[in-house]
């Protein structure tokens, strides 16, 4: 992999909830156009890490730098920073009182003050790409989980973020809807979007990632390319974790 410009730098990040240390000394660089997938057992701090990047959580130590600018623990203008970071949550939180189109338009129009007709055009193109153009005037309650999640991705994309964060976006979906959401993400990866993805879908992680970060108990345990990680993990903790997803044949062959 060629050396690329560093977009996001995390330096010695520490995060505590009262006395509980959830992130201990995390350091991580994300390069422009790179897809980093974070995996690990539940409670390992991977979602918290994403929330820290987007400033939804205060951090107790270290630094987060986006494009050379320190963004951690800012009290002023955090909303301007968040315009550059797109985030999609597990629970696809569309705004229930607005149509799909208005859900997408709200951010670009109100926080970026862009022109309605210009954003509408872009939103419609994006909706078309995820196969939901016919839903533009529907309300979120009329959509399935997978459809809502695709709209949530479009809503984040329409802000033209420099980096996209995905926090277990398929974890709350029925199995048959997972695929349609993951396909959208694969498409984005192909186009060269910078993404940090937290997921439990191992085969998806392997397909989409440039780099796998394996976290456990609040620290980065292993970091390698997907091929190496899934076929030949270096640490015991990673081996143990990957074994959870494998089943031995019980009846013999």
């Amino acid at each position: 992999m060629s050396k690329r410009e560093t977009l996001l730098e995390i330096k010695h990040l520490q995060k505590n909830y009262d006395d509980l240390q959830v992130l201990k000394d995390i350091s991580l660089d994300v390069h422009k156009g790179e897809v980093v997938v974070i995996i690990g057992p539940s409670g390992c701090g991977k979602s918290t890490l994403l929330r820290c990047i987007n400033g939804l959580e205060k951090i107790q130590g270290g630094e987060i730098i986006l494009n050379g600018e320190t963004i951690s623990n800012r009290t002023k203008d955090m909303h301007l920073v968040r315009q550059k970071i797109g985030m999609v949550f597990q629970s696809y939180d569309l705004f229930p009182h607005m149509t799909i189109l208005n859900n997408i338009l709200l951010g670009p129009m109100k926080s970026q003050r862009r022109d309605r007709s210009e954003v509408t055009k872009e939103a419609e193109e994006l909706l078309k790409r995820v196969g939901l153009l016919d839903k533009r005037d529907a309300y979120p309650r009329q959509l399935s989980g997978g459809q809502k999640q695709r709209v949530a991705i479009v809503r984040a994309l329409c802000m033209h973020p420099e980096i996209m964060l995905f926090d277990e976006v398929t974890a709350a979906l029925d199995p048959e809807m997972v695929r349609e959401v993951l396909d959208v993400m694969l498409e984005l990866a192909k186009e060269g979007s910078t993404m940090v993805i937290v997921t439990h879908e191992m085969s998806f992680a392997r397909a989409v990632a440039d780099r796998i970060i394996f976290m456990d108990k609040g620290e980065i345990v292993e970091e390698s390319d997907p091929e190496t990680f899934f076929t030949n993990p270096k640490t015991d903790r990673a081996k143990k974790f990957l074994n959870i997803f494998a089943f031995d044949t019980i009846k013999g062959v």
């Binding site: 909303h79 970071i85 009182h97 709200l106 984040a156």
Partner: protein
């Protein structure tokens, strides 16, 4: 010839007097409702505070006002304050105070409930698309809160209007009291007046409250989500 009771209504200025009584009812209700909504929204926002002292005080206020029958509150303010502090409050003013105190407590609790029912993720999604705190409230939280609040608030308003009938007991001559006076005055000439007059009063309350109920139903249907 047996006189029809309804004729009482058209003797002298009886019907006009009833309408004047109704106006007093409506006026006291409207003023109290306006004060309650305004203060209730502020109280509701205060009640979502996590400060334990603020929580305890607002809770005590709410419980006190809820547990006390409105009639006792009316007597307390109208007679109690006069005796204790030597301040003379008119019946109408006492009524407005009591209904505002009660309405504010109830409204505050409704606002608190509506605000707390908005999931935390709605705030976070707003943040994630770069909105400021003010924008999140203006575009996301308040519109959803209002949708949940309106049907409940309207229910409260009609309850307040109906409960103003109690103020006859502190000497305010509102619609029910006027009705009683008319019935008393014609007790001998028209023995069936009570049925007719109270029947008319029933319709007067209905005419005031029904449009409000209709509005609630309409809004609820329009905002169903």
């Amino acid at each position: 010839m047996q006189d029809l009771g309804i004729s009482v209504l058209f003797q002298g200025k009886n019907f006009i007097r009833l309408l004047e009584g109704l106006w007093i009812t409506v006026r006291i209700s409207l003023i109290s409702v306006a004060i309650s909504i305004l203060l209730g929204i502020i109280l509701g926002m205060i009640m979502t505070s996590k400060n334990p002292i603020i929580k305890a005080i607002t809770k005590a206020y709410l419980e006190f006002v809820r547990i006390m029958p409105q009639l006792v509150l009316l007597f307390l303010v109208y007679f109690g304050v006069t005796k204790a502090f030597g301040i003379h409050l008119s019946g109408e003013l006492s009524a407005i105070i009591v209904f505002s105190v009660w309405g504010t407590a109830e409204m505050g609790d409704l606002v608190r409930g509506a605000l707390e029912s908005i999931p935390k993720h709605q705030y976070e999604s707003g943040k994630a698309i770069g909105l400021t705190k003010l924008q999140i409230f203006g575009y996301i939280i308040i519109p959803q809160t209002v949708r949940r609040l309106v049907p409940l608030a309207i229910n409260l308003v009609t309850r307040m209007i109906k409960t103003t009938s109690l103020i006859a007991l502190i000497g305010v001559v509102e619609v029910v009291k006027v009705g009683q006076q008319i019935i008393e005055a014609s007790r001998l000439s028209v023995p069936s007046a009570a049925l007719w007059i109270y029947g008319v009063i029933f319709f007067l309350y209905f005419i005031v409250c029904y449009p409000i109920s209709l509005l609630a139903a309409k809004l609820e249907k329009a905002w169903k989500d």
